[in-house]
C-alpha cells in the first residue's frame, strides 16, 4: 500500500469537496502521517476543525510533497486525546500545542505542552537550570528598540547559551476568528494585517483561497501584477534586512545605503498601489490597480538603477573582511534541524534545502516564469544574509522581465461567492517563506474555519536552537538574520 493512499491529493490553490477527504481512525491517521513524513513529505499544517473550542474534534493534516508539487490531506475521526506526534515528528510540536490550546484535544506524551499564545510569561513553566555558575537572562516583552513584544529566556554559563526559550503570544489579535466570522468585506483587510511586512503575500494567499473556493481564476495580467508587487515586497524586506544586519554589527555605511534602497521599493509599492506596504492592491478576482505606461517606465528605471546599486553596496558589505568574520559561523542551523523542524523560506534555503513554493508548488505567474532558487549550505548568519542578497538580485531580474512583458487584458474579474462544503489550500512564497491559508466552507458558503500559517510559525524554534552553544551577545544578530514575525506567529 502506498503511503499516500490514505490521503486526498490536490495542488496548490485548488479546492476539493470536503467529503472527498478520507476520515480515518486516529491510529491510522497518526501512522499515515509518520509514513508520509518519512518519505520526505513536509507537514504544512496540522489543525483541529472544531469551531467551539471544546473536545472532541477531528484533526486535519496537510502534507506537502515538494518534489511532486502535491498537497496531501487527511482527517481523523473526532477524538478528545491522542498519542502525540511530536516525539516521532518534531515538525508537529507547535501545531499540537496550538491544537491543545485552542480545542483542548490533548496530545498525550507531548514533551513540552504549554500554551502558544494565551499565556502571560509569568504564568507558564520555563526550562530552568540550577547551579552556582549558571545564570538566567530574561529579555522582553518590552525591548529597548522599536520591535514587537516577545519574551526570551536564556540559560547561560558565562557568555555561553545553554538553552533559549521563546515565549510569544503578546500580539494575539484573533485574526483567524475575524476571518472566520466576517463580515466578508472585511476579510481582505484582516488578511493584510496578519503580518504588516508580509501584507501582499497574505493578501495573495487569501485571494487565491477565495478564488479556489469560488472556482474562478484571475486574468493573466492580474497574475503578473500580483507577482510584481510580491517581488517588490520581497525586495524591500530583503534589502531592509541586509541593512538591519549591517546595523547590528555596527557597519554603518552599508546600513545607510541598504536603508535608502529599501525606501525605493516601498515607494514603488506606493506608486503601484497607493500604500507603502502594498495594502489594498490585491482583491479576490484580480488586482485593484493597473500599471499605466508612465508607471512602467518609472519602475523600469528604478529597477535598472537598483540592479547596479545593489551590486555595488552588496560588494562593499560582503567584501569587508570584518563583516564576513562577524557573520560566519554565527547562529548555525544544521540541515538536519531544518528537516526535523520543517523550516521554510530563507532560513531553510540557507541550510541547503531546495524549498521554495514558487518552484515547488507554482502558482500565478510563477507557473510560466520561473525564478531560480538560491541555496547555500552553511546555515549561519552569513548564509541567511547571502541568500537574501542573491534572492534580491534574482527578484530584480524577474521584476524587470515581468514589468517589460506585462500581458494585455483586464486586471480584474469578478469573483463569485464561495461554494458550499469545500476546502481550499493556498500557499504563497512570501519573503520570509511559505504563507499558508486553509479554509473550509459550510453549507451556506460561509467559513466553518479559517487557518493561517505564517512562515514564522515554523521557524521560531530554529532561532532557539541556533543559539545553543553560541554566545548570548550573538543573539541580536541571529535574531535579525532570521527576522521572524511576532504578529504572524501570534495571529
Amino acid at each position: 500500500m502506498s503511503p499516500t493512499s490514505r490521503f486526498a491529493s490536490i495542488r496548490n490553490g485548488e479546492a476539493l469537496d470536503f467529503s472527498k477527504i478520507p476520515v480515518v481512525p486516529i491510529e491510522d491517521f497518526r501512522s499515515a502521517i509518520l509514513k508520509l513524513a518519512a518519505a520526505n513529505h513536509r507537514l504544512c499544517a496540522l489543525l483541529c476543525d472544531g469551531k467551539d473550542g471544546r473536545p472532541p474534534g477531528s484533526l486535519l493534516a496537510v502534507l506537502a510533497d515538494d518534489i511532486g508539487g502535491k498537497l496531501f490531506l487527511a482527517a481523523s475521526q473526532p477524538v478528545t486525546s491522542y498519542p502525540s506526534l511530536t516525539p516521532d515528528l518534531a515538525q508537529a510540536h507547535l501545531f499540537e500545542r496550538e491544537i491543545y490550546e485552542g480545542s483542548g484535544i490533548r496530545p498525550d506524551g507531548h514533551p513540552w505542552l504549554k500554551p502558544v499564545r494565551r499565556a502571560l510569561a509569568d504564568k507558564v513553566a520555563f526550562f530552568s537550570e540550577q547551579g552556582d555558575e549558571v545564570h538566567e537572562v530574561a529579555v522582553g516583552p518590552i525591548h529597548a528598540g522599536i520591535i514587537e513584544p516577545g519574551h526570551f529566556r536564556f540559560q547561560c554559563h558565562g557568555e555561553m547559551v545553554h538553552h533559549l526559550e521563546i515565549q510569544l503570544g503578546y500580539q494575539h489579535r484573533g485574526a483567524e476568528r475575524l476571518l472566520r466570522e466576517g463580515p466578508p468585506h472585511r476579510s481582505l483587510a484582516v488578511a493584510e494585517s496578519i503580518c504588516g511586512d508580509t501584507a501582499v503575500a497574505h493578501a495573495w494567499a487569501h485571494c487565491a483561497m477565495r478564488e479556489a473556493l469560488a472556482g474562478v481564476s484571475p486574468t493573466l495580467r492580474a497574475e503578473a501584477l500580483r507577482a510584481i508587487v510580491l517581488e517588490v515586497e520581497r525586495l524591500a524586506n530583503h534589502i531592509g534586512d541586509l541593512g538591519a544586519i549591517s546595523n547590528d554589527i555596527g557597519f554603518l555605511p552599508a546600513t545607510a545605503y541598504f536603508g535608502r534602497m529599501r525606501g525605493d521599493f516601498l515607494n514603488m509599492l506606493m506608486t503601484i498601489s497607493g500604500n507603502r506596504y502594498g495594502k489594498g492592491m490585491l482583491r479576490p478576482g484580480g488586482v485593484a490597480f493597473d500599471l499605466t505606461a508612465g508607471m512602467r517606465t518609472e519602475i523600469l528605471e528604478t529597477i535598472n538603477r537598483s540592479i547596479r546599486h545593489l551590486r555595488e553596496v552588496g560588494g562593499m558589505f560582503f567584501g569587508e573582511p570584518s563583516v564576513i568574520s562577524r557573520l560566519e559561523d554565527t547562529g548555525t542551523v544544521s540541515r538536519k534541524i531544518c528537516d526535523d523542524l520543517g523550516l521554510v523560506g530563507v532560513c531553510a534555503r540557507a541550510t541547503g534545502a531546495d524549498r521554495d513554493v514558487r518552484q515547488d508548488h507554482p502558482y500565478g505567474l510563477y507557473r510560466f516564469r520561473h525564478i531560480p532558487v538560491v541555496r547555500l549550505d552553511s546555515g549561519d548568519v552569513f548564509a541567511r544574509a547571502m541568500v537574501r542578497f542573491l534572492e534580491a538580485q534574482r527578484s530584480l531580474e524577474f521584476l524587470g522581465d515581468a514589468v517589460d512583458h506585462l500581458p494585455e487584458g483586464s486586471a480584474t474579474s469578478p469573483c463569485a461567492a464561495p461554494a458550499a462544503n469545500r476546502l481550499a489550500v493556498a500557499l504563497v512564497e512570501g519573503w520570509r517563506g511559505e504563507v499558508c491559508h486553509i479554509a473550509k466552507t459550510g453549507r451556506d458558503g460561509s467559513y466553518d474555519w479559517y487557518k493561517v500559517i505564517d512562515p514564522s510559525f515554523h521557524n521560531w524554534m530554529a532561532l532557539a536552537l541556533a543559539l545553543r552553544g553560541g554566545e548570548i551577545s550573538d543573539f541580536p544578530l541571529c535574531n535579525k538574520s532570521f527576522n521572524l514575525s511576532y504578529a504572524g506567529h501570534d495571529l
Partner: protein, 296 residues
Amino acid sequence: MTRVSSYLLLVVFAPPLMLGIITKTKAAVAGRKGPPVLQPLYDTIKLLGKGAVYSTTTTWMFRLGPVISLSAALAAAALVPLGGAPLVAFNGDAILFAYLFALGRFVTVTAALDTGSSFEGMGASREVAFSSLAEPALILAFSSLAHRAGALSLAAMFAPHGGPSAAASTILALGSLFIVLLAENSRIPVDDPNTHLELTMIHEVMVLDHGGPDLAFILHGAGLKLVLMASLLVRLILPDKTFLGPLGTLAFGLAAAAVVIGLVESSMARLRLVRVPQLLVAAICASVFGLILALR
C-alpha cells in the same frame, strides 16, 4: 590663570565637540547629514534639567557611581598636559592617571551590579574582563615612554618629539594606546556606542538604569576620558610649537583624532565579543615589544 581657564574650557567643551565630530564623520561616510556637531552638548544640558528615577532595589552605591566616575575623570584631566603644562604634575602622576581611570571603572561597575539586573551584571563582567587586558597594555606603554623620558610624569613622557628620535618603541606605544583608547571608550571595533541591543553592549548596558543628571555625568565623564586619551596621543604625534599655538595645536589634534576614530568606525564592523581579547592582547604585545626596544 590661563592654565586654569584653558583646563576649564577643555573639560567642558572638548568632550561633546569631539563626540559630535565623530558622529558627523560617520554620517558623512554613510552619505547622511547627521546631527549637529554640538548635539552631545545639547543632550547633556537637556539631561541636567531632568529629574532622576531610582529603582527601589538600589542603594547609595548606585548614586555614587556617576559622581565619582566624573570626578575621577576631572582629576585625571588635571594631570594631563592639555595645551601647555598640566595643572598638577609630579613624578609618578602617570600611575595616578591610570588608577583614576580604574577608580572610575570600579564605581561604574559596582553601581551596575547594585541594580541586580542580569543585563548590567553581564555588562559589568565584560567591562572588567576586557579592562583587565586593556590596563596592562596601558601600563606597559607608559613604562616604555617613561623609560625613554627618564621620568614617570605625563608631562615628560608625552613631551612632543619627532624625527629620528621618535623611536620604534614610541610608535609601538602609540599603536597600543590607540587600541586602548578604542576599548576604554567603547568604540567600534570593541563596543558599539550606538547600539540599542542590550545583549551585545559592554559599557552602555551598565548605565541603562541611570537617568537625568546622573546620565549626563556619565556621558560627560566618558567623553572626557576620550579627550584625555586622545590628547596624550596628539601630544606624542604633533610638534609642540606650531603657528596655532599650544591650545590651537591640541584642538586641531583632537579634531583630527575624532575624524580618524570616525573613519575607523565607518570602515569596519564590530568584532565578535570573543575576539575582543585577541585585539587587546595584540595591544599588550605591541607595548611589550616597545618596552623591550626602549630597554635595549
